[in-house]
């Protein structure tokens, strides 16, 4: 036992789940990123057509905010209403089809087909059918977001451990009871995956609809500002769109954390 000098070592306790790191580190990254962009654009004289300095973007966006405001409201309205219709709609379709095994088989490929089809291809046609009222863009959002919500929800409804269904059987639960109290609750994690993807699809749908036609909406603003070389404002609009998407996503995430307690 005398081969080594037995040095008593004392180490720092090992950290698990380093809490502060997860909050502080991203903030530092953000600050560094903005500072670096600022420095980079100014020091190297990068053309403002490629990337204007962040401070210019912020200042110009704020000073032109009254002009952007109605467009912001409009896009927010389209995304929010479209999203809020898509979620229950998509879930309802899934709930109906999940009741019959044969329907699940028949409809699943159709839903995949709908998810794959970029629904924005229908925008010109929708305008043809329903006129150019910008509010109709809600329809674009709905048809873009609904299939992905249905797909995930249907997955959740059909993937359930047989034990859970056995529990329902062992207490003599009726079909509606089993669906509401077991199948639906059990599918919550997948339902939320679908809703989150629905967020993304909704914003994409709204912005692409703006691109195709019209003079309202943040998407159309980007096109306009870019045309008239107001690059800073284009970037400002992009940031606002990003904020809309992120807020929507964050709200869904907060609700998810409240409901899906058991995931982690």
């Amino acid at each position: 036992m005398n081969t080594t000098t037995a040095v008593q070592k004392k180490r720092k306790p090992e950290a698990i789940g380093s809490g502060y790191l997860n909050i502080v580190a991203p903030l530092i990254v953000l600050v560094i990123l903005i500072a670096a962009l600022e420095f980079f654009t100014r020091a190297f004289g990068i053309s403002r057509f490629v990337l204007p300095p962040p401070t210019d973007i912020i200042v110009k966006t704020i000073s032109n905010f009254p002009e952007i405001w109605p467009h912001f409201l409009f896009t927010l309205k389209i995304v929010a209403i479209g999203f809020m219709i898509s979620v229950p709609f998509g879930m309802l379709i899934a709930a109906l089809f999940s009741q019959f095994e044969i329907m699940v088989k028949a409809i699943s490929p159709v839903i995949i087909w709908l998810v794959i089809t970029p629904m924005i291809t229908l925008i010109p046609l929708i305008m043809l059918w329903l006129g150019t009222d910008p509010n109709l863009r809600v329809i674009v959002v709905i048809i873009q977001a609904t299939p992905i919500i249905t797909l995930n929800t249907l997955n959740g409804f059909t993937n359930i451990e047989s034990e859970k269904l056995e529990l329902a059987k062992s207490v003599g639960a009726s079909k509606p009871q089993t669906f509401i109290k077991i199948i639906f609750m059990n599918a919550m994690p997948q339902v939320f995956t679908g809703i989150k993807l629905g967020c993304i699809f909704s914003t994409i749908g709204a912005i692409s609809a703006d691109f195709v036609a019209g003079t309202v909406g943040l998407g159309s603003r980007i096109v306009q500002y870019t045309k008239y070389n107001n690059i800073e404002l284009s970037y400002g609009c992009i940031i606002i769109i990003a904020l809309i998407g992120i807020s929507l996503f964050s709200i869904v995430e907060i609700i998810e954390k409240r409901i899906v307690l058991w995931k982690n």
């Binding site: 380093s18 790191l21 997860n22 580190a25 991203p26 530092i28 990254v29 053309s47 057509f49 490629v50 044969i102 088989k105 028949a106 409809i107 699943s108 490929p109 159709v110 995949i112 087909w113 998810v115 794959i116 089809t117 970029p118 924005i120 291809t121 229908l122 925008i123 010109p124 046609l125 305008m127 043809l128 059918w129 993807l197 967020c199 993304i200 914003t203 994409i204 912005i207 692409s208 691109f211 195709v212 943040l218 998407g219 980007i222 096109v223 870019t226 045309k227 690059i231 284009s234 970037y235 609009c237 992009i238 769109i241 990003a242 998407g245 992120i246 929507l248 996503f249």
Partner: protein, 250 residues
């Protein structure tokens, strides 16, 4: 067993037939004008008859989607590998990984066109920025969720980082990565079509706009169906690759 297999094969086919015949019957009985909503039979006919005219655009769209997608997937995976390899970087960047997916990056398209013109490059870039983020996000999830026991197995053998990555981390994350790749396939087609909307006169997206402006709804629909076929092709390609690569079960 066999009965079930027959069911899951024929049920969707029947469903599609039902949808198209229903559509056909409605349009015929209500005598809806062609420019408003064409019959499926006319659309299919147009898909065949106008094929020579569509072909360069189909080809262009396929090229753009595939090229962008093929570049985006490795970028997403590589970026995720880097991010998740270092604890601090992982903590610092993980919220941005989600944010990047949440931002409709197609809003950058007009700006990209400003300094890249209306060529194919700009569309490829659009496809890349629209689809790499979702691969990145899912790959990060996969890399971060490697079961501890598997990591410990490699540690107990004193495996190097690269060896652990190759033998354990990458295969474990494979199914999550494929979830991302599948979504990226969808995002790539959507991204490509929106880029074609905004500028230029090549690709199926531009054709859809053109035909609908001239009230040639049948041709418009034919193009949409071709876009769908491109999307389905992507989907099959990805599913095929997944089956080839993930040959094991969990």
């Amino acid at each position: 067993m066999t009965k079930k297999r027959i069911e899951s094969f024929f049920a969707p086919i029947l469903m599609f037939l039902l949808i198209f015949t229903g559509w056909e019957i409605i349009v015929r009985t209500l005598k809806i004008p062609k420019w408003l909503l064409p019959m499926p039979s006319e659309i299919f006919k147009s898909m065949v008859v106008n094929f020579p005219a569509f072909w360069p655009h189909i080809l262009m769209t396929i090229e753009t989607v595939l090229l962008g997608f093929i570049i985006a997937v490795p970028i997403g995976i590589l970026l995720a590998s880097l991010i998740t390899s270092f604890k601090v970087v992982n903590a610092a960047l993980s919220p941005y990984v989600t944010f990047l997916v949440m931002v409709p990056l197609i809003s950058l398209v007009p700006l990209l066109m400003l300094f890249m013109g209306y060529g194919m490059n700009v569309r490829v870039v659009t496809v890349i920025i629209q689809s790499f983020a979702v691969v990145n996000m899912n790959a990060c999830t996969g890399f971060n969720n490697v079961p501890i026991l598997r990591q410990e197995l490699m540690q107990s053998l004193g495996a190097s980082r690269l060896e652990s990555y190759r033998r354990v981390i990458l295969p474990t994350a494979a199914s999550d990565i494929f979830t991302g790749v599948r979504l990226a396939g969808i995002f790539a087609t959507t991204g490509c079509i929106s880029a074609e909307y905004v500028g230029g006169n090549m690709g199926l997206g531009s054709q859809i706009i053109k035909y609908s402006q001239f009230l040639k709804t049948t041709e418009s629909f034919a193009c949409i169906f071709y876009v769908t076929i491109v999307g389905l092709m992507m989907y099959w390609l990805i599913s095929f690759a997944q089956k080839k690569i993930i040959s094991w079960k969990i």
